[in-house]
């Protein structure tokens, strides 16, 4: 088991007029090899939660275990934790600073105290993973396109070779093509490099296709924590907290309601297509 979160509470600006309970008794387990979709309305506490995973925020109360070790225990090595649990912030391209793309991506590994050759190798590998070609290495990170910037920023975290990759809304503000590219690359990291992924999003469509488990947050609490089909079956409740199931869920449900005897648990277009085709062949 990679990460275990126990009774986590977090309060912003405690004991002031701006006091805000952002996490309320959160209990989550993330296993090695999981692809978790962390979903919730804006302000539901997703970003706050993921900043706890690598120790950037310290819980008001509760505990987090990484590979069985409590990260709040005396003398815990946060620097090491941060290279094991890679966190890509929302709009990560706003944190680029290097004079060249290569230099920027190399920042993470060079903080890990590696040799120059290793830094070089990891940087190349990370840039390759996100599909940035070698002819761009020496360009400024400020003169490439928005989607490329974001991929460079993600490479900056990948270069540290984390075991768990946490991405906070990696598709925010991208066009559909850029969004699909990023999601496909994340899925590749999961399948080919066997990375544990936590993908934060407020769109069910984004995660339905990839996640093996979906965690729904609302008002700082975990509302659902189950496999996608099971979560989407609560689509009425999801709507109440400002979310929606993927469009196919509604289509399948609508078909069922007007009398077609089909299984409504499809979450992606492919599954829906298969189910509808099999229904047609069944009735013929």
């Amino acid at each position: 088991m990679a990460i275990k979160i126990e009774n986590l509470n977090y309060v912003y600006s405690p004991k002031t007029a701006y006091e805000k309970v952002a996490l309320d008794k959160v209990n989550i387990e993330i296993n090695d090899g999981d692809f978790i979709g962390l979903i919730g309305h804006t302000g539901s506490g997703k970003s706050t939660l993921v900043q706890h995973l690598n120790g950037l925020l310290k819980a008001t109360s509760g505990a987090i275990y990484y590979n069985g070790q409590n990260i709040y225990s005396e003398g815990y090595n946060f620097k090491e934790l941060r290279s094991k649990v890679g966190l890509v912030f929302q709009y990560p391209e706003h944190q680029l600073f290097g004079t060249t793309i290569f230099e920027d991506v190399a920042f993470g590994p060079s903080n890990q105290g590696l040799s120059k050759a290793e830094i070089d190798e990891r940087t190349r590998k990370a840039l390759d993973m996100v599909g940035i070609s070698e002819d761009l290495y020496e360009s400024s990170p400020f003169e490439i396109s928005g989607g490329q910037k974001r991929r460079v920023a993600i490479a900056g975290v990948l270069a540290m070779e984390p075991e768990v990759l946490v991405l906070d809304e990696p598709t925010a503000g991208l066009d559909p093509k850029g969004r699909d590219e990023i999601l496909e690359q994340i899925s590749k990291l999961h399948l080919e490099n066997n990375m544990t992924i936590v993908l934060v999003s407020h769109s069910m469509e984004d995660v339905a296709k990839y996640a093996n488990r979906i965690i729904v947050m609302n008002n700082g609490q975990v509302k659902f924590n189950d496999e996608p089909k099971a979560v989407f079956s609560h689509y009425k409740e999801l709507e109440e907290i400002g979310l929606a199931a993927p469009a196919v869920t509604y289509i399948m449900d609508g078909l069922k309601n007007i009398g077609f005897d089909i299984d409504v648990s499809a979450t992606t277009i492919e599954e829906a297509k298969k189910e509808i085709l099999s229904y047609i062949s069944r009735v013929q």
Partner: protein, 266 residues
């Protein structure tokens, strides 16, 4: 973290002080500060204390908050009191070695200490109860006569309110960038001076880029809404004096006269 920095912080509450016209509070604070320079006799100190305590009560800002503001000037306070205590000439009360405390010293030290505390509490009470935007609005209005001598009062006020508006945004941005670089293993605490200065580059570059981007966006948004400077610009919420504002002016002037009279009478 860095977010806890307070710069003239506003404390949201519904109180009489909050609802006063910012001009009244500005003029009132000004009179109050001048009167602090006039106080000399004990009765004046008592008067100021009573006045300040009633203002604090009326403001509904918790005492804890106000005391917290004093912490920032603690060192200044200690120095002021210390210097006055030891360096004032008079009849010695206690002597340790070369340091002597005189009766005059105790009195001056106490008076200076109280004045400083009164000054900080009084002026922070204004910023606690007035939003930065109200403050600049009030200032612009009060300083409007300076337009006659070609001082661009509106532009200065606009710059001030934009700057004030940007402080929390930039603080938040700095917080975010610092965290993002820490997630990449950045370390801002260890190393010698040169290493530490170098470790600031990954924060400062993105911060500058972001500040320019935001400034650009803001300028664009203002132009899109036909902003052309102060000339002929009307306000959605023009400042208007209420009955309670007049009463407050009256109270402030009475207070000021009382303080002056303690100086003349005693």
């Amino acid at each position: 973290m860095i977010r806890d920095i307070t710069i003239g912080q506003y404390y949201p509450a519904k109180s009489i002080l909050h609802s006063l016209d910012p001009r009244v509070k500005l003029v009132g604070t000004f009179l109050y500060i001048i009167s602090l320079f006039i106080v000399k006799h004990y009765t004046a100190y008592v008067l100021v204390t009573i006045f300040l305590l009633s203002a604090i009560t009326l403001s509904k800002v918790p005492l804890k908050f106000i005391v917290k503001g004093l912490k920032q000037i603690l060192i200044l306070l200690i120095f002021t009191v210390g210097f006055n205590l030891f360096l004032t000439k008079g009849d010695p009360v206690v002597e340790f070695g070369f340091l002597t405390i005189t009766d005059q010293g105790i009195i001056t030290a106490l008076k200076m200490g109280f004045r400083l505390i009164f000054l900080i509490i009084g002026s922070s009470l204004m910023t606690y109860t007035t939003t930065p935007n109200q403050l600049t609005d009030g200032l612009e209005n009060l300083l409007a006569p300076l337009n006659k001598i070609k001082i661009p009062v509106h532009e200065i006020a606009m710059m001030m309110s934009i700057a004030l508006r940007f402080i929390p945004i930039l603080v938040e941005e700095t917080d975010k960038i610092m965290k993002a670089q820490m997630a990449r293993g950045a370390d801002f605490e260890s190393g010698n001076i040169i290493q530490r200065a170098k470790s600031l580059i990954p924060i400062l570059v993105p911060l500058f880029v972001s500040a320019f981007r935001r400034a650009n966006d803001l300028a664009m948004a203002m132009e899109a809404r036909c902003y052309r400077g102060g000339k002929g610009r009307t306000k959605m919420k023009p400042l208007k004096y209420d009955k309670r504002d007049m009463i407050t002016y009256f109270v402030m002037i009475t207070f000021f006269i009382l303080i002056i009279s303690t100086r003349i009478l005693f």
